[in-house]
Subunit: 388 residues, 2 copies
């Protein structure tokens, strides 16, 4: 069992940088130790802010069955933790690793004062409870990030100095990699949080604007859900999922498709009975008003396409540009079907709602005229499966 420690260390350190899951990192190191150095069990306690302690995060080998993972937590003020937080092992033994046997003989001698002996005895008692013969702290800068506990070697032999130095160095690399991974996780979490904030605020403001039109309560969220449903199914049918960007654009676009209605006077939006030609034309302005509101936001350009063209018709008789067939971007064609279905199946100022079956029939009937056949087919498929 000769290990080329230097090589192993370099390889492991190098590979560790790109693992951004702290638990997986610890597992990698623990597994390597158990396998290469033939140790009965190895466990790692990682600092956990919420629990204000050190949580048993990875355990491998014989101890595994005895102590339950993610439940055993050593309090941050526990004697074992304090001992390492105060760098006592380095002070007393001149190295970070604490060896049970070595410590026992120090306890018998006169090197330590009574209170020092008492503390060390408590530490050893803890180690014995955890069946550890070596304990190695993981420091990041001056913080105690974790504790690595080693059981006996399978061979029954003592650990060699070279092995211990290797474990200490490995553990130190591990600490760095864990912090790196944690920083990554924090950034990713922040990114997700920011995205959620953006989406939620957009939903809230879009809903507030929608509320001006008394007939469309919940319209935006229903259109959004239906559009996403259709797009996901179209992706599956085409045997390639749409990329995340397309779905994200569709999501935002559906949320904002009617945003331009903010520029249409309330008395027209909420007028009972039929509209004059002039009033109709005011309402038809809403896609371009929406585009105007959003056009300065470069990142939304994909989504704005859906806002601009969600009233185009497959036969070219729609607005604002009268695009035809494949000229109409898919993102808009999807919203058109979802938007129209929801409009048909809810009351409007100018007519009562169709029932769901009739609304579906109407969509089918208008496929190839008002609606893209490709989108309608998927919509109808979802209807047949009872998913709409």
């Amino acid at each position: 069992m000769a290990i080329d420690y230097k090589k192993e260390l370099e390889n492991t350190a190098r590979n560790m940088i790109f693992v951004h899951d702290p638990n997986l990192l610890i597992k990698m190191v623990v597994r390597m130790m158990v396998d290469k150095a033939k140790i009965a069990h190895v466990s790692f306690f990682l600092h956990n802010k919420e629990k204000q302690g050190y949580l048993l995060t990875v355990s491998r080998g014989s101890l595994n069955k005895k102590i339950p993972m993610d439940l055993v937590c050593i309090d941050k003020d526990d004697v074992l933790i304090r001992f390492f937080r105060e760098h006592k092992s380095s002070f007393i033994f001149g190295r970070e690793a604490l060896l049970l046997d070595e410590a026992k003989s120090v306890l018998k001698g006169n090197k330590l004062k009574p209170e020092g002996k008492q503390q060390l005895a408590q530490v050893l008692y803890q180690m014995e409870l955890l069946e550890a013969v070596v304990c190695i702290p993981s420091y990041f800068r001056d913080e105690l990030l974790g504790l690595l506990l080693l059981g006996k070697k399978d061979s029954g032999k003592k650990f060699m100095d070279e092995e211990l130095d290797f474990f200490v160095a490995l553990n130190s690399n591990l600490a760095m990699a864990i912090r790196n991974a944690q920083l990554f996780k924090e950034l990713e979490y922040e990114l997700d949080r920011k995205h959620q904030l953006f989406i939620r605020t957009t939903i809230a403001l879009a809903a507030a604007i929608e509320a001006k039109d008394h007939y469309t309560h919940g319209h935006t969220s229903r259109v959004t859900n239906l559009s996403m449903e259709i797009a996901r199914r179209m992706g599956i049918k085409a045997k390639k999922n749409f990329d995340g960007k397309f779905l994200e654009n569709l999501h935002i676009s559906s949320l904002l498709h009617d945003i331009g209605k903010i520029g249409v006077p309330e008395h027209i939006l909420n007028k009972r009975g039929s509209l004059t030609v002039g009033e109709r034309n005011r309402i038809k302005e809403h896609p371009l008003i929406g585009v105007n509101i959003l056009k300065s936001i470069k990142e939304l350009s994909g989504a704005v396409t859906g806002v601009r063209y969600h009233h185009e018709r497959f036969d070219g008789k729609g607005y604002p540009e009268g695009l035809k067939g494949d000229q109409i971007p898919l993102i808009a064609s999807i919203i058109t079907v979802a938007d129209s279905f929801d409009a048909m199946s809810t009351d409007r100022s100018y007519r009562a709602a169709l029932n769901k079956t009739d609304a579906i029939k109407e969509i089918e009937h208008l496929s190839g005229e008002q609606f893209s056949p490709q989108v309608t087919d998927t919509f109808l498929e979802l209807c047949r499966e009872g998913k709409i």
Copy 2:
């Protein structure tokens, strides 16, 4: 000049993880090489996506004066780059580092076919142009991330194998660290982009809602700028800057302070002449309508405080809750002053604008009644300095 290579390598590798600026990383390594190994010059060419080549990113030592940094770029199809991209050095010499002298003697022998010799000769010509005697590639996985070029040693001696192995290992660690740093930068960039997207969309939607009130064009952005100006100055005066979170909340809060006006009928908002008591009460609902729109968004709770209380008065005669003095959160008191100043200095449906001087006098006059004296003082200070 004995270097404990192993120790240096471990230390450098460990420190590198936490430098998230690729250029700084390269500088660290280059400086270490020039200083410890006494090399006349060391330069590093880093892969640059936009330029489709390898840009001279760091150069230290005697060559520094001769070739301009950030301007020298080796094309991705250059013979030197292709040589290393195809791992030719490893194939021919059995190691990643390419040595000028060693290569020259290979050129004289029969090891290579004519086309191989031709390529190698071109590579050596390039190295000589760059005054390099050693060239070490940086690979990440199988990609060529960069090239490290070493000049002669000051001593005139040849590089020892141990040194070269060390440089290769160091360079390999550097490649890992550079990728790690790039990933970090990308994440941070994404985070910033997402934040900008959130802010810009909020601005666009708030502006659209504001447009419903014909008298308040540009009001939101003026109030936001003024609020931020006041807050920054208050932070400086208190000799502690407000934390980023406060300023961020104030920013969002100012943008959204009048969002509730979406719930007030247009004919009331735009009525010319005086309002009835009933109409006035409808307008007074706008802070709580705003709160209702935003309350489900947990991350906005700090900002919502400003929306809720921006019509409270220091003397307790405001709305919606009639809070008094210090009961009113600072974020709201700041918006109140900015909002009122802007309202006074622009035309409204019910009266013409005051000129700026009179508006400032009015704010001063109402300090301690309508406005928080602390905020007013800062506002007046900015006015005296001509900043408002």
